[in-house]
């Protein structure tokens, strides 16, 4: 019997601005059998999504199929009549997009969107479709399944929406699922749950799947076979265990080495403690902050009683799940969001809480590098213009002094000098992030606040930016507050780690201490949720007690007691939910906020 999907020498071209066509998929061939999961892996721009979409006979605007065949169940979908192709979509082949938040129509209910395709294609009547949707909600372990369909997309969380998209895809009982980076945007603890749900549903439904991702560790959990892509060509194609355990191709090995190793104590050579006795470069004391108008008592509190100090030339990593207040912390330090209580000190001097009231030299010393390089750079300004402004504003340089400084700056972030004449859209994601960094460095700051600076980049490009940051720190002596939801990224760069949960610091200390037992229960959950490049890891992890207790529960901001109570395997009812936990100094550079004692942690860790 022929394979379910046969991609045969596929060629796809892109139309450039001047109207010429350039090939972006260059003769790709592979097969996918019934009931099988095939992963397409490669970095951004390697053509993964483009190839995956060809299984639905779809090319994004500006792209054109220029050769080859894509046979689904023996029929070429590229040459089908458009009506036939429409019936194929949603009914036999279903698509799960990278961003569920963008792919759900904000104006229609979840139920309507989940069942729409199945009803329109005449596969089921309305009632059957809604019943099936409900069964899928249950299978995907979504909350409140009997009423979920009546809600609107903005009324559920990101992780739930991602699973709802799986329900939407599966509702019409398709033979083939095409999944495009379905977990990339999620927190580790959510990702692991979504991955498990996908895997078990795919198995239950007997569907085949084409799984697109750049994350080899994720692939190892879910794929039967792997296609490695680079520059629109297949580099390697084989069973998952062969490709992972015996990679043949050079590029595959590079991909594997860019998989950030699971965070472990000792992997990071600590900067010597010689600065420790000086006044810290930056200090945050008893900080409470939040949003909303009104006075300190009525406003929403996002951060509570946070204490952090950053030594000169050191980097402090801030880690936690989405919504825990990481960006808020950076905004308070920079003065964008004035604190409600507590203070921020620079070299021992208290800064005014409000950015607008700080003087220019204080502003110059603290610079912010934003999460989204794309939106942070004004597309209408040329690079030299973007980089020239801080020179003018902070250092008062004249027009004639600027070009030399700009060239210096570009060199610092390892870009060629002729980039000065380009516009942001002419740069790749990694290059944009370098420009973004250069702009912050132009002010010669003492503190750099980096908020998720590599989260939007693929692993190899991201690893290069981290290397650059390390060199910059050595050369300029800048201190970093490095924010990320990815523990491995933080572990590869930070001297100290601050673990934030629901706006509280639950653990902090030097990187080696935080990543070794004793752990705060939340830190342990985070560490164990980072996928490992090992087949079978997912199943093993889901069996552990912390996973069972804590994965994919929502963060609840509580007024009293320990915020982690509802997810904690060690929780002591009656104590943890009633009293704020004490701060335990395990060593002088390692603190844990928990009711459990050091001995109890150690006992738990060895269990």
């Amino acid at each position: 019997m022929a394979a379910l999907l046969e991609i045969d020498n596929l060629l796809i071209d892109a139309r450039t601005d001047d109207g010429t066509m350039v090939p972006i998929v260059k003769g790709v061939s592979f097969n996918l059998d019934r009931g099988e999961v095939v992963a397409l892996i490669g970095e951004s721009g390697s053509g993964k999504t483009t190839i995956a979409l060809s299984a639905l006979g779809y090319a994004k605007p500006g792209l054109e199929f220029s050769g080859g065949e894509v046979r689904f169940d023996g029929v070429d979908v590229l040459t089908m009549a458009s009506e036939e192709r429409r019936e194929l979509r949603g009914q036999r082949v279903a698509y799960l997009a990278q961003s569920a938040a963008a792919s759900f129509n904000p104006a229609l209910t979840i139920g309507e969107q989940v069942t729409e395709s199945a009803i329109l294609q005449g596969r089921m009547d309305r009632d059957t479709a809604y019943q099936r949707a409900e069964i899928l909600y249950r299978a995907l372990e979504l909350p409140d399944p009997d009423r979920l369909g009546r809600r609107y997309p903005h009324q559920v969380s990101g992780g739930q929406l991602q699973r709802l998209m799986a329900a939407m895809a599966l509702c019409g009982k398709p033979d083939l699922l095409v999944l495009d980076e379905p977990t990339t945007a999620l927190d580790v603890t959510t990702q692991i749950e979504v991955l498990r749900a996908f895997k078990s549903v795919i198995r239950q439904e007997g569907a085949a799947a084409l799984y697109v991702t750049h994350d080899l560790a994720v692939v190892a959990q879910i794929a039967d076979r792997i296609v490695v892509l680079y520059g629109g060509e297949v580099q390697e194609y084989g069973s998952a265990s062969d490709v992972i355990n015996r990679p043949n191709h050079d590029y595959t090995r590079r991909l594997m080495s860019a998989v950030r190793p699971p965070p472990e104590a000792g992997q990071y050579a600590e900067t010597t403690g010689e600065h420790r006795r000086e006044v810290p470069a930056l200090e945050v004391r008893n900080l409470t902050a939040g949003y909303g108008t009104g006075n300190a008592r009525t406003a929403v509190k996002v951060l509570r009683d946070v204490n952090i100090s950053v030594e000169r030339g050191h980097s402090v990593g801030v880690i936690g799940e989405s919504g825990c207040g990481k960006s808020t912390l950076a905004r308070v330090i920079s003065g964008l969001l004035p604190a409600q209580e507590g203070e921020v000190r620079l070299h021992g001097d208290t800064l005014h809480p409000d950015l607008k009231r700080r003087d220019r030299s204080d502003l110059q010393k603290i610079q912010f590098v934003f999460q989204m390089a794309d939106t942070a750079l004004n597309p209408r300004h040329r690079i030299d213009n973007l980089l020239g402004r801080p020179f003018e504003f902070y250092l008062g340089l004249t027009r004639s002094q600027k070009p030399e400084k700009i060239a210096e700056l570009l060199k610092m972030v390892e870009l060629p000098p002729d980039f000065a004449g380009r516009y942001p859209e002419e740069l790749s994601g990694g290059q944009k992030q370098r420009i973004n960094l250069a702009r912050a460095l132009a002010a010669s700051p003492e503190i750099l606040l980096c908020d998720e600076v590599i989260s939007a980049l693929d692993s190899i490009v991201g690893a290069n930016i981290i290397e650059l940051l390390k060199r910059l720190r050595k050369r300029t002596g800048v201190s970093f507050v490095f924010i990320s939801h990815d523990l491995s990224t933080v572990a590869s760069f930070a001297d100290d780690i601050v673990v934030l949960y629901a706006g509280r610091v639950v653990e902090q200390g030097s990187t080696n201490k935080v990543l070794a037992p004793p752990y705060h229960p939340y830190t342990r959950l985070l560490i164990s949720s980072v996928p490992e490049l090992r087949i079978g890891w997912l199943e093993e992890t889901m069996e552990t007690s912390e996973a069972k207790a804590g994965i994919d529960r929502v963060v609840e901001i509580t007024e009293v007691g320990c915020p982690f109570f509802n997810r904690c395997p060690l929780a002591i009812p009656g104590t943890c939910d009633k009293h704020v936990p004490p701060i335990r100094e395990i060593t002088d550079d390692h603190k844990i906020e928990c009711h459990r004692s050091d001995e109890e942690f150690r006992h738990w860790a060895s269990a």
Partner: protein, 322 residues
């Protein structure tokens, strides 16, 4: 949340209206010479001026005059024309002067709206549904040309071509109020055409941009990939999200039309409200100027309010809070 947003908008609308009334009042007070001056003209002696002023209440402090005026306005008493638009109209109640003019203006704008809205909506929608097509390019090109030309140039150009060169239509749109049928139509044709051209090119462009924006969003691509038929994609997925912004665009453009009306009525000497106001400025008939300005500003603010409401009501996050 929704209720709060609506109430806030309403409050802002009323507040703006009050501010505008203060500005209008101040603006008209700084004009040199008051009504008493104008009425008495050459014959003014200091004594007669003072007497007339006290009779008209002009000698009271400004803020009292403001509140008196505002109170009268609010109760529908627009006051009495103090100078009138000619010697014959001195002493006529302003509402009587305004009524026929307002009817004329409303008639013209109604015709403009009835033609411009459906025309520009359908063309804008078509252009968005077939981007890059010949139709789309034609529409984009023409509308871009038209919006960069000010109203009075459009009007002058139309007069040159249709009235002077081809002699099809009268160059002015003066009507006495007794015209009917073809004659009325002919008189209205040029001012209406000017406004239709100006308003529709804006609405067309913005409709096209709005719908294109919605159509290029990921959830539309998702619907295509789910095999949803094109008709349903447009009618259920896209239009649902585009209605709010489109109503917003229409209301905003009708608001801009207010200033267009002033220019067009002047150029064509069309006896509408705007023409009345311009004439009143020339004769320094301050109460009349104030009344006309208030009507224009109120219309403008009301339309902006409608535009705001449309975008608030079409936001699902506000309609269905968590």
């Amino acid at each position: 949340m929704l209720m709060a947003a609506v109430l806030r908008r309403t409050a802002v609308g009323i507040l703006t209206m009050l501010l505008v009334s203060i500005l209008i009042f101040i603006g008209t007070s700084v004009l040199p010479g008051d009504v008493a001056n104008i009425i008495l003209g050459q014959m003014a002696t200091p004594e007669s001026l003072a007497e007339l002023r006290s009779k008209l209440g002009l000698d009271r402090p400004a803020y009292i005059r403001y509140f008196m005026w505002l109170g009268d306005m609010a109760t529908g008493d627009l006051g009495i024309s103090k100078a009138g638009s000619g010697a014959a109209t001195i002493g006529t109640p302003i509402s009587e002067l305004i009524a026929p003019r307002l009817t004329n203006t409303l008639r013209m704008t109604a015709i403009v709206a009835i033609i411009a809205i459906p025309l520009s909506l359908s063309l804008g929608l078509l252009a968005a549904m077939y981007p890059g097509s010949r139709l789309d390019r034609a529409i984009t090109f023409t509308t871009l040309g038209l919006i960069s030309v000010p109203e009075f140039l459009v009007a002058t150009f139309l007069v040159l071509v249709l009235a002077v060169h081809m002699d099809l239509l009268p160059a002015t749109a003066y009507i006495s109020g007794r015209e009917t049928g073809l004659k009325l139509l002919k008189a209205l044709a040029l001012p209406t055409l000017t406004l239709v051209i100006v308003a529709s090119s804006q609405i067309m462009r913005m409709t096209r941009a709005t719908v294109l924006n919605v159509l290029s969003s990921p959830y539309i691509e998702m619907a295509i990939l789910k095999g949803v038929p094109r008709k349903r994609i447009i009618l259920r997925h896209a239009l649902f999200n585009a209605v709010g912004p489109i109503v917003n665009v229409i209301a905003l453009n009708l608001a801009y039309l207010v200033s267009g009306v002033v220019i067009v009525e002047t150029v064509f000497s069309y006896p509408g409200l705007a023409k009345l106001m311009v004439d009143a400025v020339q004769t320094r008939d301050l109460p009349l100027v104030q009344a006309c300005a208030m009507i224009f500003c109120a219309t403008y603010i009301l339309l902006i309010f409608i535009a705001d409401m449309a975008s608030i009501l079409s936001n699902p996050r506000l309609r269905h809070p968590k």
